[in-house]
Symmetry: C2
Subunit: 199 residues, 2 copies
DNA sequence: GTCCTGTCTGACCGATCAGTCAAGTTACGG
DNA sequence: CCGTAACTTGACTGATCGGTCAGACAGGAC
């Protein structure tokens, strides 16, 4: 080694820029030059770290997921009560701030890109499985404590996560009928339905 | 008029081809030449009926929606019992056959394209409002008949539709954890929860 | 027949962009 | 202070593709 490697930092910088650009203009419109500009570097450098645009995007999708998971992990240790834990977890999904909205945008782009790409489908499978495990785990905890109704936790987790995805999409589409507040109300209703004593 | 107009049929033919191609390879990869070939015509003809690719896709999205609605309308008159009506309606959303899968694919492409296009957002708003009205209407009917629990029908409709969207997406992504059968099971669970007498 | 108009064609043009490359620059070791 | 290897640059290339256009064709009116 003739120089200390800057690879880790540079990759991070480029991936972050890629996610920002994807979120702003979409994968379809994204140019390698846009990413380079946003990262404050040149297209040559982007290609130095990522051979092709496809490889860049795959890495960006993975990076987006890792970041999303990192942001939420501490949340899970904060609330001893499973009901509170689940509520906080769901709340963290609401597209309220820039960071969350951006992450959702990248997710949505991944989904549609994955419709025609088995490798990305596999990635979705891994990542989605992680969310499912977390939510199902909370539901199981709640059932063990007698707080949640007895039912198949995996089925209920799928229902909850699926709903969140669908609702978030409508919020991202700036639907007048599905604002963040309304999304929260719909989620609250569903969370209440999980409780043993439904009002 | 020197000749009978073939415009209506030709437009239909091209739009159908466009939806097929979008479903197969995605909007990002779609070339006007692909659509022309699929429609058995030339790029010149496609541009004769649609000035730009953007205009073509907008028309294709609209066409896809109109067709989806047409396919489901008769369903709503078949079942006097609101529970059956809702069940049949939900069942028709499951991505089981080619026609439904193709329609879902086009929907997904519309969503992501709309993230950065206010015109398409407006289209989503109209179309989605239609679904919401239908489902909320069924729920209201069921409540009036004392079959469904009393609750805000709009909230419940949003929860149900959002969930269906999210689940369908995972099915389309060929998730091993979310097959059509599993999606049906999750939907059944949610439908049961709407009933007055939940088991 | 011949006009007219609606329809259709595909070669072509111009713009766009991913990826290459040759020529740098930087910062360490010896 | 030179050698070396990591890193950076941006002009360039080749391929792609949306949209244009000049011309061909079809079928009704007359």
């Amino acid at each position: 080694m003739a120089r200390p490697s800057v690879e880790a930092e540079r990759r991070e910088q480029i991936l972050s820029a890629a996610c920002e650009v994807v979120s702003e203009i979409g994968f379809k419109s994204l140019r390698v030059a846009d990413v380079a500009k946003r990262a404050g570097t040149s297209t040559g450098t982007v290609h130095y770290y990522f051979d092709t645009k496809t490889e860049l995007m795959r890495a960006a999708f993975e990076w987006n997921f890792a970041r999303s998971l990192d942001r939420r992990r501490p949340l899970l240790d904060e609330h001893p009560d499973p009901r509170e834990r689940l509520r906080a977890f769901v709340e963290s999904y609401l597209p309220v701030d820039d960071v969350t909205v951006r992450a959702w945008h990248v997710w949505a782009e991944l989904w549609v890109e994955a419709l025609h790409d088995p490798d990305l489908q596999e990635m979705n499978e891994q990542v989605y499985g992680e969310w499912r495990r977390i939510v199902a785990g909370i539901l199981r905890d709640g059932q063990d404590s007698g707080l949640f109704r007895e039912e198949d936790p995996v089925l209920a987790a799928n229902a909850l996560i699926g709903m969140i995805d669908g609702l978030a999409l409508q919020v991202l589409l700036r639907s007048r009928s599905m604002t963040v507040d309304r999304m929260r109300a719909v989620c609250d209703r569903t969370l209440r339905n999980l409780d043993v004593a439904t009002v």
